[in-house]
């Protein structure tokens, strides 16, 4: 692949983007949900199922198992890198042993929540815009009396308030800070490095939900000094059903029995095949990380394809991806505000400065029958965006009131729509989106 070719040329690698409906191509702007998959990743998956659909060599020793192992564990002699190593290098982890394969980000976050040795009275600090994946596990622990949850709130411009955060750290017994690195509502990226530095000063560890960050920017976990980072491959051109939990080596344990570990080490919460070195009728000894956290037969094709997906992104360059998305978002934000900014019923959610929102642009429409715009965009121009609450119910319930989904008056109708770009989106697609939205607003009598 020519790394100098125009970033938009990469869309040729995506079979789904070549489809047509009603003579028009798809305009996929729902990348914060999940991304399209390039041919290279599809081929990786297909190759596994076609050529060596077997267990890896950690279980079996035959020909096919060796071929799986070469792709899962790597074979430098054949120039094969393990997906774990590829991912470790991608986020600059100190070791590939710090990379745990999970089902997805939600699974990874739950592994920390359920495996961390909390003590009674410990506080977990969140922001006001956490995805249910980074809220419900903590709510459950709070309900069981194992932790208390506290929230740090943004400033008036909806940016992270470091002073407010530090006050929370000072006045609470915060044991763990768990936050979305990039918000899936607003696209805003928190100042993680500063947050982590402050948290560590007060003796707390930091877990970042990187689902919306890792696919869109260069991540260096060592420079950040983050303790745990969770993300999903399906949001970065990879296969569905694979996520990653990065954890610093000293937080993942080294002892054969979890009860002997230090009080900051997470314990595996699902045990079984592949997690233990030995077992008797009365006890077991754990494998070293990451294997103690990866119970049962693994999703081999998806793990192999994860490596392919990450290499694909590396070839494009994460900085180029970020720049491209920012350019599209800047254009869309400016055009939308120029057209509807003064209407009183249209607003962009989150910071108004597009450069703070990565590739995400979420807007609110407060008009009668504001529902169904996403469906109309799809019907008219194959434009795919997201509407609803984006799995962040508390934020909208707090901002709009608990009854916002059932307003008494038509004038109170409000609906939120999210556009999320990736590197394969183009300015032409943005223009078609703007034209189609304008047509819908006109038909609806909004303008």
């Amino acid at each position: 692949m020519d790394s100098k070719k125009s970033i938009e040329k990469y869309r040729e690698d995506f079979p789904a983007l070549k489809r047509q409906r009603n003579g028009k191509p798809p305009i996929y702007l729902d990348n914060a949900c999940t991304t399209m998959v390039p041919r290279q990743v599809i081929d990786s998956i297909e190759e596994y199922y076609t050529d060596y659909p077997a267990c890896s060599g950690t279980r079996s020793r035959h020909w096919f198992a060796q071929e799986v192992s070469e792709r899962i564990e790597g074979n430098p002699g054949k120039g094969l890198k393990s997906p774990r190593q590829i991912i470790a290098e991608f986020i600059n982890a100190g070791s590939e042993k710090e990379i745990i394969f999970t089902l997805n980000t939600t699974h990874a976050l739950n592994m920390v929540a359920l495996g961390f040795p909390f003590r009674s009275g410990d506080v977990v600090l969140l922001t006001d815009k956490e995805h249910n994946s980074n809220l419900l596990p903590w709510l459950k622990l709070q309900k069981e009396g194992r932790i208390k949850i506290d929230f740090t709130l943004p400033n008036d411009r909806d940016e992270f308030d470091l002073d407010a955060f530090e006050r929370k750290m000072k006045n609470n017994r915060v044991r763990l800070v768990s936050m979305a690195y990039t918000s899936n509502i607003t696209g805003y990226t928190i100042p993680a490095k500063e947050i982590i530095k402050i948290a560590h000063q007060y003796g707390a560890l930091v877990l970042l939900d990187g689902a919306q960050a890792v696919p869109h920017q260069t991540i260096d976990v060592q420079s950040l000094d983050v303790d745990f980072l969770a993300f999903s491959l399906h949001k970065m051109c990879g296969p569905r059903g694979v996520g990653v939990l990065y954890g610093k080596k000293e937080l993942l344990g080294q002892k054969p029995h979890e009860e002997d570990e230090a009080d900051h080490v997470i314990a595996p919460v699902i045990l079984g095949g592949a997690t233990v070195a030995n077992s008797t009728y009365h006890s077991y000894t754990l494998m070293l990380p990451p294997y103690r956290f990866e119970a049962g037969i693994q999703n081999y094709p998806a793990q192999i394809a994860s490596g392919t997906a990450v290499q694909y992104l590396q070839q494009i360059g994460m900085d180029r991806i970020r720049e491209h998305e920012a350019g599209l978002n800047h254009f869309l934000s400016e055009e939308l505000m120029k057209r509807y900014g003064d209407t009183g019923w249209f607003r962009i959610v989150g910071p108004q400065d597009a450069s703070q929102r990565g590739g995400i642009l979420t807007f609110e429409v407060k008009r009668p029958n504001a529902l169904g715009i996403a469906v109309e965009l799809s019907e008219k121009s194959n434009i795919m965006i997201r509407d609803g609450v984006f799995c962040v119910h508390p934020y909208f319930n707090e901002k709009f009131g608990l009854q916002w989904t059932r307003p008494i008056s038509h004038s109170e109708h409000r609906m939120v729509y999210r556009i999320s770009c990736y590197f394969y989106n183009t300015m032409d697609e943005c223009r078609i989106f703007l034209e189609t939205l304008d047509e819908i607003f006109k038909e609806r009598g909004y303008i």
């Binding site: 997201r386 609803g388 609450v389 989904t405 008494i408 038509h410 609806r444 009598g445």
Partner: protein
């Protein structure tokens, strides 16, 4: 949307949605949600319908909803068609009445009409059974 539906909807936006509102202690009350309301990602539509019956006559009908324009148009038409009719007459309204009301054929409008009429007929049947 068919242009006749668009035109009617834009008229409603200007003149107001005549049947929006609530009837306290309505004779018939029904509420329905979309497939999901709201689940993790989506927010879907809902409808609350209030029907006042005196004797066998529908004297008033109001609704509350959050929906898309075509659904809202369909609910407004339903209310207009039903108000002043007897329960039996209301139960015999057909989907075609919606098309005739607007003077257009539209597949989406037919679907919405069918959905709303099935709901209405079910509630009328239940009301009549309970009050017999």
């Amino acid at each position: 949307m068919h242009e006749a539906i668009t035109a009617y909807y834009q008229k409603l936006l200007k003149t107001g949605f005549e049947h929006i509102g609530k009837i306290d202690n309505a004779s018939i009350y029904l509420e329905t949600f979309g497939e999901v309301s709201p689940v993790c990602g989506n927010t879907d539509d809902f409808l609350c319908l209030y029907i006042q019956v005196e004797g066998n006559l529908i004297t008033d009908i109001k609704y509350q909803c959050i929906s898309d324009p075509i659904t809202n148009v369909s609910i407004e038409i339903l209310c207009t068609l039903v108000k002043g009719k007897t329960l039996d007459e209301a139960a015999f309204i057909k989907e075609e009445a919606f098309s005739q009301f607007l003077g257009c054929e539209d597949e989406m409008l037919q679907e919405k009409a069918k959905f709303l009429l099935e709901l209405l007929k079910g509630e009328i049947f239940r009301y009549k059974t309970q009050t017999a």
